[in-house]
Amino acid sequence: MLLLIGITLISFLLTQAVPGDPALANLGQHPTPESIRAFHEKYGLDDPLPVQYVNYLGNLVQGDLGVSQQTHQPVTDDLSKLVPATAELAVFAIVFSTIFGVGFGVLAALKRDRAVDHGLRVFTLAGISVPMFWLGLLGLYLFFFKWGLLPGGGRLDPTTTPPTDVTGFNTVDALLDGNLNTFWDAFKHLILPGGVLVLYSVSLISRYTRSAVLEVLHADYVRAARAKGLSEFTVVTRYILRAALPSIVTVMGLVFANVLAGAVLVENIFNWPGIGQYAYKSAVSLDLPAIMGVSIFIALVYVIVNLIVDLLYAVIDPRVRLS
C-alpha cells in the first residue's frame, strides 16, 4: 500500500511539474474564458494541489482513475480496452524472445569463439543497437510494402470482422469463435510489431544466457554428468540450463520492462491500439488523469513482475528457499 501511495505521489508531482494548462492543450485555438472555467471545474484543476491529490486518492481507492481529458472516457474504461492489445503483443514478444534468446544463448556458449558464436554476437549487438523505430519502418517496408508478405498495421485487416470480445486477445478470441481465418489474420498482424520487440529482447536474453551458461559450463557437476555418459541434450537442459536459470529469470524482468517501453514506439508505428499509444497521446496533450492512470498501471505491473521473479528464484533454487 505504501508503495502504491508513493507511486501515485511521484506520478502526481511529476505531472504537475510540467508547465502548461491542460485546458489550453485540449480546447483548441478559441478557448473562451467560459470554456476554460468549465474545463477547470470539470477536472477540479482550480483546487489546491494537496486537495487535488487527496481527491485523486479518494477516488482511486474506489477504483476510479478519473476521466481522460482527450478521450472524455473514464481512464479505467480506456485501460480495460487497451491493455489486452498490449498484453497480446507483450506475450507474443516474451514467448518468442525467450525461446529464441535462450536457444541462441546456449548455442553461443556451447560453440564459444567459433563462427556460430561470432555470428550470434553480431546479431545480438545489432538487435540491441538498432533503433526500434527504424527497425519497425524497415520491417514495414520489406515485409509489407516490398514483398507483401505481412500486413502493414493495426490488429486486423479493415475488411475482417473482429471476433467476439472474450479475452481481448484477437488470436485467442478468434479461436474461441472457431474462426481460423480471423485467427490467421490476427496472428499475421502480430508478427511485424511483435517481431520488432522480439528482436531487441532476444538479443538481451541471448547475451545474458550465454554468459550464465559459460559460468557453469565447466563446473565439476557438469563434468561429472558428462562422465556418467549422459547425453549432451540432458546435460544441457538438466544441469547447465537449470543452473543458469536464475540469471535468465532476472533478465526476463528487464525484458518485460523493455517490452513495455518499446510498446510506445512500436504501437505508434504499427497503429497498434494499446497503452503505449495511449501513454504517448496522453503525454503530448497533458492529459493528467490518463498519465496518472498509465503510470500507476505500469508501476503495478512492474511490482507484480518483480514479485513473480522473486518467487521464481525460490522455485528454481532450493538455497533461496532455505535462506
Binding site: D21, I269, P273
Partner: protein
C-alpha cells in the same frame, strides 16, 4: 476546432487544412436546393455506386465523435460523414449549399437567418428531422461549453414551427451561414440523444451524459452510420440505408490512425485507399505511380512569426525593431522549406479565402531597409528569445526548422536570437500568458470565412486565439475599427476589399509576420473519385466514390 497547435500536439501533421479549389463568393444570404448546387450533387460520386471498402489513413487528433464536443480535423471529417448540417459545402468548396435546410433567407443586417427544413430529411432510424432537433443540437453546442462553443457565441435559435428554424445573432454576422456548415453544428436526433442522457440545457456542461452513447452509436441523418469506433485507433462506418439524398459512395468506410510513413506504404498497396497526411516530399515519391492520384496544393494553414508588443517584455515592443524583423525574413526560403506547392502568405488570410491579399501585397525581403529600421530604433546588441513548439509538425513542417531559419535571417541584421523550443503544451501556456518575446506559430481556419481572422485585430481578447501578443486596441484603434467594419459588412465584394485593407494595416505594423502557407498533399487510389482535400471536412467522405 480545426488545426491548432494545442490540438495538433504530437500529431504528425495537421491535416486540417486543405487545399481549396476556390472560395469566397456570395455569403449566401439566401439560397435553396434549387438555386444553390443540388444536394444530390454535393454527396454523389462521379461514377456508379461504389463497392467494397474505402480505407482512409490519417494521423488522428481524436476527441471523439460526439459532434458538439469535438472540433478537430479528424473528428470533423468523421462527424460530417454521419451527420448533416443546415447548410453544407461541396467537396473542396466554401460556398454554402443546401443541407438539411432546403432553403434559407437572411435579414438585410445579417443578424437573422430563417431556414426551411427539407421535408424528405430523416434520421438513420427513419424519424423525420424537425426544427426541434435543430434547436436542441445548436443549444447543446453552446451549453456544453466545449471547443466549438465559440462558433455560436451570441447566437440564439428558435423554432416557430416544425419545419422552420430562426437563427439570430446579437451582431451582424455574415459568416454565420458558413459556420452553420461546420460539423460542430451537426443536427442530432434529439429524442434518441435525450433518451441516452443528452441535454441541451444551460447546465449541459455538467448534466449532459450522451458522449459515451454517441461514441458507440451515431444519431444523425448523414450518409453513414457508426458501425464501430475505437478512439484514437479506427472508426468503421456503414452506409445509412435510410439516407435521404442521392448517394453513390462506398458501402463501408474504415478510417484508421496511421503515422505518415506508414500511410505512404499503405496507399501504394491498397485498392481503395486514401492517405491524408503525406508531406509534399513524400507525395512526390509516388507521383509517377500510375495506380495513384496525387494532389499537392497550398494549405489554408498560415505560419507566422509573432512578436510581443510590450516593450518591457520584449525588444519587439519597439515598432522599428518589428519593421526590421519583418523586412529581414527570407520569405522565399520559408516556402522552400515546406516543399513544392507552398506559397508565401501575403497576409494572415490564406490565398483561397475571401479577402486574401495577392502576391503583389506580399512583404519583400530587404536587408538594407531592415538594417536602416534597426538603426532608427537606436538599439544595439538586441537579443530576443524565440519560442516554438518543438514537437509539432503541421503539414510535415517542423517548427524547429523554421525557428532556426528565423535565427539565421535575423543574425544577418545583427539581432541575436535565442531559440526556446518546448513541447507544445508548455509552449501554449506561455503563448496564452503573453510571456513569449517572439514565437513561431500558425493558424488553421475554424470555418472558411475571413471573419475567423478578426482574432488578429488589435484588442481582440487574448483568449480568443489562445495567444496574447499584448496587442491592445489603443495601439491602433483605426485598424480595430476597420476589422470590425469588415466583419459586419454584408456585401462580399466590399467585405473582401475591407479585409484586404485590414491585412495591409496588419502588415504595416502589428505583431504578426505571415510567412507561408505550407504545401499539403492528398494521395489516393486512381480508381477513386472526389479525392480532394477539403477546407472544412478534411475529406468529404460521402462524396468519395469509384470512377
Amino acid at each position: 476546432m480545426r488545426s491548432t497547435i494545442g490540438k495538433a500536439v504530437g500529431a504528425a501533421a495537421i491535416a486540417g487544412a486543405l487545399a481549396v479549389a476556390g472560395c469566397g463568393g456570395g455569403n449566401g444570404d439566401s439560397g435553396s436546393a434549387d438555386s444553390g448546387s443540388s444536394a444530390g450533387t454535393s454527396t454523389g460520386a462521379s461514377g456508379g455506386a461504389a463497392t467494397g471498402t474505402l480505407v482512409v489513413d490519417q494521423s488522428f487528433v481524436d476527441r471523439g465523435v460526439d459532434p458538439q464536443r469535438q472540433f478537430t480535423p479528424t473528428n470533423n471529417m468523421l462527424v460530417h460523414a454521419m451527420y448533416d448540417t443546415l447548410v453544407t459545402f461541396e467537396p473542396g468548396k466554401t460556398d454554402p449549399v443546401a443541407g438539411l435546410a432546403a432553403s434559407w433567407r437572411g435579414s438585410d443586417d445579417a443578424k437573422q437567418f430563417t431556414f426551411t427544413l427539407d421535408d424528405s430529411a430523416v434520421f438513420s432510424d427513419g424519424t423525420p428531422v424537425t426544427s426541434a432537433d435543430v434547436v436542441f443540437s445548436l443549444d447543446r453546442l453552446v451549453n456544453l461549453k466545449g471547443p466549438g462553443s465559440f462558433l455560436l457565441e451570441g447566437v440564439t435559435v428558435r423554432a416557430p414551427d416544425a419545419r422552420t428554424v430562426v437563427v439570430t445573432s446579437k451582431t451582424s454576422n455574415p459568416a454565420l451561414l458558413r459556420i452553420l456548415a461546420t460539423p460542430p453544428t451537426s443536427i442530432l436526433n434529439s429524442r434518441v440523444v435525450e433518451a441516452n442522457g443528452g441535454s441541451a440545457a444551460k447546465d449541459a456542461d455538467r448534466s449532459d451524459r450522451a458522449e459515451a452513447f454517441l461514441q458507440k452509436t451515431s444519431a444523425g441523418s448523414g450518409a453513414y452510420t457508426l458501425e464501430a469506433g475505437q478512439q484514437n485507433q479506427q472508426y468503421t462506418l456503414a452506409s445509412n440505408p435510410r439516407y435521404w439524398r442521392d448517394f453513390s459512395g462506398f458501402p463501408k468506410v474504415v478510417v484508421r490512425n496511421m503515422a505518415a510513413p506508414t500511410q505512404l506504404l499503405n496507399v501504394q498497396r491498397g485498392a481503395n485507399e486514401i492517405a491524408l497526411d503525406l508531406s509534399a516530399q513524400q507525395a512526390g515519391t509516388v507521383a509517377g505511380n500510375d495506380a495513384l492520384q496525387v494532389r499537392t496544393d497550398a494549405s489554408v494553414n498560415v505560419f507566422d512569426v509573432e512578436a510581443n508588443m510590450n516593450e518591457s517584455i520584449s525588444p519587439t515592443g519597439d515598432e522599428n525593431v518589428r519593421r526590421a524583423i519583418r523586412l529581414a525574413l527570407d520569405y522565399e526560403g520559408y516556402t522552400r522549406l515546406s516543399g513544392e506547392g507552398a506559397v508565401q502568405a501575403p497576409g494572415v488570410i490564406p490565398s483561397q479565402f475571401l479577402g486574401a491579399l495577392t502576391a503583389a501585397d506580399a512583404v519583400r525581403t530587404d536587408l538594407d531597409a531592415a538594417r536602416a529600421e534597426l538603426a532608427k530604433s537606436g538599439k544595439s546588441n538586441i537579443k530576443v528569445e524565440l519560442a516554438f513548439p518543438s514537437d509539432a509538425t503541421p503539414n510535415g513542417v517542423s517548427f524547429s526548422s523554421i525557428a532556426q531559419k528565423v535565427k539565421s535571417d535575423l543574425q544577418k541584421i545583427g539581432i541575436d536570437v535565442e531559440l526556446k523550443g518546448t513541447p507544445a503544451v508548455t509552449f501554449l501556456a506561455d503563448y496564452a500568458a503573453g510571456k513569449n518575446q517572439m514565437s513561431v506559430s500558425y493558424w488553421g481556419p475554424d470555418y472558411p470565412d475571413p471573419n475567423d481572422y478578426l482574432v488578429y485585430a488589435p484588442g481582440a481578447p487574448g483568449t480568443s486565439r489562445a495567444a496574447d501578443n499584448r496587442y491592445v486596441r489603443e495601439m491602433n484603434p483605426q485598424l480595430a475599427d476597420l476589422g470590425a467594419r469588415a466583419g459586419s459588412t454584408l456585401d462580399d465584394a466590399e467585405r473582401g476589399t475591407l479585409f484586404q485593407e485590414f491585412q495591409r494595416g496588419l502588415n504595416e505594423d502589428s505583431p504578426f509576420m505571415p510567412l507561408f502557407q505550407p504545401a499539403q498533399a492528398i494521395v489516393g487510389s486512381r480508381t477513386l473519385s472526389n479525392v480532394v482535400l477539403d477546407p472544412t471536412y478534411t475529406l468529404n467522405i460521402p462524396a468519395v466514390g469509384s470512377n
